[in-house]
């Protein structure tokens, strides 16, 4: 239900098209960046070789390919699916991992800077929904994977 699934029929056409290469900022500016090489391997069952490659993180998720695609698909779908698959195997750029850890601990990706706010005359920041988020996260994890290790210990 909450997973991302790839449509291989659309990917087949995607693999033969490449219309978005002329609008994709990474294709235009990063030497060697070639999403169709990844798609080709997904279609051939060799996707695994890309899981540790920086390539799959060079898609900027700008949605240009989606907007220009005559199938309304875009190769960003393939890149997102690859990143999710890599994540399942615990493979992330370190900064992604740090961001994720902070998110699941605090519900945010950074806390408001109180000193700077005071200096600027900004009001106190509002309460975040951290406590409720953490409860929701636990419920979500229970539904998806059963009790988490810390809950089982309890």
């Amino acid at each position: 239900m909450f997973d991302i699934h790839l449509d291989f029929d659309l990917l087949e056409k995607c693999n033969r098209c490449g219309a978005c290469y002329d609008i994709c900022p990474s294709c235009l500016n990063i030497d060697g960046y070639d999403p169709r090489a990844v798609i080709k391997d997904i279609l051939n069952g060799n996707a695994g070789r890309w899981l540790t490659s920086v390539h799959i993180y060079q898609c900027l998720e700008c949605h240009h390919c989606l907007e220009i695609c005559y199938q309304n698909y875009g190769f960003e779908n393939a890149m997102t699916a690859m990143r999710l698959r890599a994540a399942r195997q615990g493979i992330h750029p370190p900064q992604v991992r740090r961001g994720w850890d902070m998110f699941v601990k605090t519900s945010r990706l950074g806390e408001p800077s109180l000193a700077a706010r005071k200096k600027l005359g900004l009001p106190e920041p509002r309460e975040s929904g951290k406590e409720e988020f953490l409860k929701l996260l636990e419920v979500y994890r229970m539904r998806r994977h059963g009790p988490s290790p810390c809950l089982r210990e309890r």
Binding site: M1, F2, Y57, Q95, L109, G110, R126, L136
Partner: protein, 315 residues
């Protein structure tokens, strides 16, 4: 106008509180019915959360939306990423009743319900469509006539269009219209819609992020603009902070970077200090100096009339 909650997002509050200041000054100055709300979390960010757990990304966005649904207010954000994430998740949930059911059965555990009834706006289309060009023009004390701006839209202001539906995704116009409403010239340039590339910084590819920023900054240096105008904290990070880093290494582009509300606030008569412009890394002084100089000149029509008078034509 319907009351709306401002969704500040993590980046603005954690890294750029002076941008929050600028937005607040303008919203207050225009007497718009905004409010702050308790309970928001990260939107959540796509590249760091959706790339690890799509379900949690959807659920967190749905919870944030349920807060404004409950209060029956709209949501407006000065962050393109937040609005794009929230709108994309909302679109995905509303298009799949089974998914909506599953999300709501989870939210019920914490007493929330996702309805998707509140409208989600980014600040640019909000000012353009809801506040309106006319009201913006009426609030101006000193316009930007004679000043040249490079508008940088930021990808997630209008993409993905299937969820945002707020401008043409490949040929947007609303930000340009706002710049014109403020009296400035929106310069056309070839990399105008190119992604800022800040996403590369978030995946440990800093050098490539700088390489991407250089492409646009080089073009703007050659085109000769007075400032870049944008309305996204991530793009701001890329073009202000990262430009400053390159300046320190001796690579100068001299492109001041201004938020939409910085420009609106200046035009409305607020001082640069009141808008938090001293928080910008790239020096905005050359921009302000030129604007002051141009504004103090008589208009072309006034100068022409004056000249004619001096020559005695009207006597």
């Amino acid at each position: 106008m319907k009351e709306f909650a401002v969704f500040w997002g993590c980046t603005i509050q954690a890294r750029f509180p002076f941008l929050e200041k600028s937005v607040r000054v303008v919203l207050k100055g225009m007497n718009l019915p905004f409010r702050d709300m308790d309970g928001f979390t990260c939107c959540p960010e796509k590249s760091l959360v959706n790339n690890i757990d799509h379900g949690l990304w959807l659920l967190t966005a749905a919870r944030n939306i349920s807060l404004v649904d409950k209060e029956a207010v709209d949501l407006v954000s000065p962050c393109t990423g937040c609005v794009s994430n929230l709108a994309t998740a909302k679109g995905e949930i509303l298009s799949n009743p089974r998914k909506e059911g599953e999300i709501n059965s989870l939210l019920k555990e914490v007493g929330r319900e996702f309805k998707g009834t509140s409208r989600l706006y980014h600040l640019v289309p909000f000012f353009h469509d809801e506040v309106g060009i006319q009201k913006i023009k009426q609030s101006i004390k000193r316009d930007f006539s004679g000043m040249r701006f490079a508008v940088h839209y930021g990808c997630h202001m209008m993409r993905p269009s299937h969820s945002l539906k707020n401008d043409d995704p490949l040929e947007p116009k609303k930000f340009d219209n706002l710049i014109r409403a403020l009296g400035g010239e929106s310069v056309e340039y070839s990399t105008k819609l190119m992604c800022c590339g800040q996403g590369l910084d978030r995946v440990d590819q800093h050098d490539r992020a700088l390489q991407m920023a250089r492409v646009k900054l080089r073009e703007l240096k050659n085109t000769g603009v007075d400032a870049m105008a944008l309305c996204c904290p991530s793009c701001f990070l890329q073009f202000d902070n990262n430009q400053h880093l390159m300046e320190k290494e001796g690579e100068r582009f001299n492109v001041p970077v201004l938020y939409l509300t910085d420009l609106m606030g200046l035009a409305m008569g607020y001082t640069p200090q009141a808008l938090g412009l001293d928080g910008h890394r790239v020096d905005t002084e050359p921009f302000l100096k030129k604007w002051k100089e141009i504004s103090s000149r008589p208009s072309a029509a006034a100068a022409f009339s004056e000249g004619m008078k001096k020559e005695g034509s009207f006597i």
